[in-house]
């Protein structure tokens, strides 16, 4: 009981502090924003722990953070191997291939309005489809190892990226295009000096969407067959053995990888598209 009360009290205190921080001048600074968000995250963990202990929830149903933390620390080699197999080999390889392919395809069809008109509606439609469904097919084609996972990721990220990149290449100002015309710039000059830079915000938007899709694809594909390593494999086997602490440890790694990948792309984006109104300081 004391755990429940304690957790509730902590929650109320943290929330009250957050309300004051948000209203204060500190809350308007970057550090202030991070503090408030971090405090909220910690509150969630404390509430979780408090509820698990207060209601004496069986660890087979829901282990608390105090159980998951040590499990992570003691299973680092396994978690690392799973991470390498799923994230580095599966997701990142597929992500890189898919991104390059979409980039190249967008430029290839750029000179043909006919192909653009034909491919864009189809690309838009395919982007909205549950492409993860292709996972079993690709596992059948490319085998159980990471190659099939990378293939799933390639297919998943290709269309959203293609659609974004094509839209980006068309998103130049009329004024900027006229300017290039008055210089009699060649197609390549227009592409390199105007249209590619102008397309970058769109491309990075696509990359951010694709980053999430990449991890989903790599993990789902493992549900359809994998060697005895990998995050999807770990989750499905540990759930079967009711080893939920290990499942949560893997989820924590997945969450961290997803956020890190997203953060990395956002960081590169802010370097490359520093000039865009949404990035200006």
């Amino acid at each position: 009981m004391s755990w429940l009360i304690g957790a509730t009290l902590f929650w109320l205190a943290a929330w009250a502090l957050n309300v004051r921080l948000a209203a204060s001048r500190f809350g308007a600074t970057r550090a202030g924003r991070i503090t408030v968000a971090a405090l909220f995250g910690i509150t969630l963990l404390v509430l979780w722990e408090g509820l698990v202990r207060g209601f004496a929830v069986s660890p087979i149903i829901l282990p608390g953070p105090s159980v998951i933390g040590p499990k992570i620390a003691s299973s680092l080699p396994i978690l690392w191997a799973d991470f390498v197999q799923t994230v580095i080999k599966g997701a990142l390889t597929g992500f890189a291939i898919g991104a390059l392919a979409a980039f190249a395809a967008a430029i290839a069809i750029d000179r043909s309005p006919f192909l653009q008109k034909g491919l864009l509606p189809i690309g838009n439609f395919v982007s909205a489809l549950p492409i993860v469904g292709l996972a079993p097919v690709l596992v059948m084609w490319f085998g159980f190892d990471w190659q099939s996972k990378a293939a799933v990721v390639v297919v998943m990220v290709f269309f959203p990226l293609l659609v974004n990149m094509v839209a980006g290449l068309q998103a130049t100002d009329r004024l900027h295009r006229d300017l290039m015309a008055t210089y009699s710039a060649t197609y390549t000059q227009r592409l390199l000096k105007l249209r590619l830079p102008a397309a970058m915000p769109f491309f990075f938007n696509g990359l951010k969407i694709a980053a999430t899709l990449a991890l989903i694809g790599a993990i789902v594909a493992e549900f359809f067959g994998s060697p005895i390593v990998g995050m999807g494999f770990r989750i499905s086997t540990e759930v079967g053995k009711l080893g939920l602490d290990m499942v949560w440890a893997t989820i924590a790694v997945a969450a961290l990888s997803g956020s890190a990948l997203y953060g990395l792309i956002a960081l590169i984006e802010s370097r490359v598209t520093f000039w865009h109104p949404s990035q200006r300081k």
């Binding site: 004024l175 006229d178 300017l179 015309a181 008055t182 009699s184 000059q189 000096k193 520093f274 865009h276």
Partner: protein
């Protein structure tokens, strides 16, 4: 010589120029039967209400639009050929600077495309930025500058490759009157120093009269020239010339021309 307007100093010549746009609501006559000669060193303003074809005419000179009838020559060449020879610099209504390039980078853009040498590029950037009084701002990004400074940078960009003709399409339309007055003065100084031929689109009567040696009054539906006024004002023009009798008389004639064009509707 049969046609006296075909003198050696003619830079831009339009004969019976027509431009018709086909739209969903039928044809629009953007320009009809436009005849005009612009001589070397002229400062020509085009003035008229919206839809009179003043911008369209400027875009025809720059080969951004293509006439459907008549002839148009720039330095004795077609507009497309003249463009390949870098005959003109164009200043748009908005500065249109690339946000991912610095001011110096923007001025350098046409030089890179036209293949100037690296050392030449830097020298030219320095020279034209100095000309528009933006030395020291080369490393800034466009969005860090005021609207007036951005427009000056775009003028520098148009000057960088030393075209003989400068085409300006309502370059100061979006700026407030105080900034505009100062930039008008600067454009005049620039014109006096460089001796370029300038085509200048505006919808402000004082601006047209203050700047020009020749004022072309146009009217819409169909877009056409209704009056061409040669200004008797001296080349040296302090700001207070606007209060002189000659200035007011020319302004009056421009206004009359605009009104006459309007009554034709």
């Amino acid at each position: 010589m049969k046609d006296t307007t075909h003198t050696g100093s003619a830079v831009i010549e339009a004969r019976n120029l027509d431009l018709t746009f086909q739209t969903g609501d039928g044809p629009v006559h953007a320009l009809r039967d436009v005849n005009l000669t612009i001589n070397k060193g002229d400062f020509v303003s085009f003035i008229g209400p919206s839809g009179c074809g003043k911008t369209t005419f400027l875009r025809c000179i720059a080969a951004l639009e293509h006439p459907t009838g008549g002839t148009l020559t720039v330095n004795g060449l077609t507009p497309d050929e003249a463009r390949m020879k870098r005959a003109y610099g164009y200043v748009f209504q908005a500065a249109g600077l690339y946000p991912w390039r610095t001011i110096a980078g923007n001025v350098k853009l046409p030089l890179e495309i036209m293949g100037f040498s690296k050392a030449d590029q830097q020298a030219r950037v320095d020279r034209v930025l100095d000309l528009v009084e933006l030395s020291g701002f080369g490393g800034k990004f466009p969005w860090q500058l005021s609207g007036g400074m951005q427009q000056r940078a775009s003028i520098a960009r148009a000057l960088a490759f030393d075209a003989d003709i400068l085409l300006m399409d309502e370059p100061f339309g979006a700026l407030d009157e105080i900034v505009r007055d100062r930039l008008n003065e600067e454009v005049l100084k620039l014109w006096a120093r460089t001796g370029k031929t300038i085509g200048f689109v505006t919808h402000s009567i004082p601006e047209a009269v203050y700047l020009s040696t020749k004022i072309v009054v146009m009217s819409p539906r169909p877009g056409r020239i209704t009056d061409v006024i040669d200004s008797p004002l001296p080349k040296e023009r302090p700001l207070d010339i606007r209060d002189s009798r000659e200035f007011i008389e020319i302004a009056h004639r421009v206004r009359e021309g605009l009104r006459a064009g309007h009554q034709d509707d």
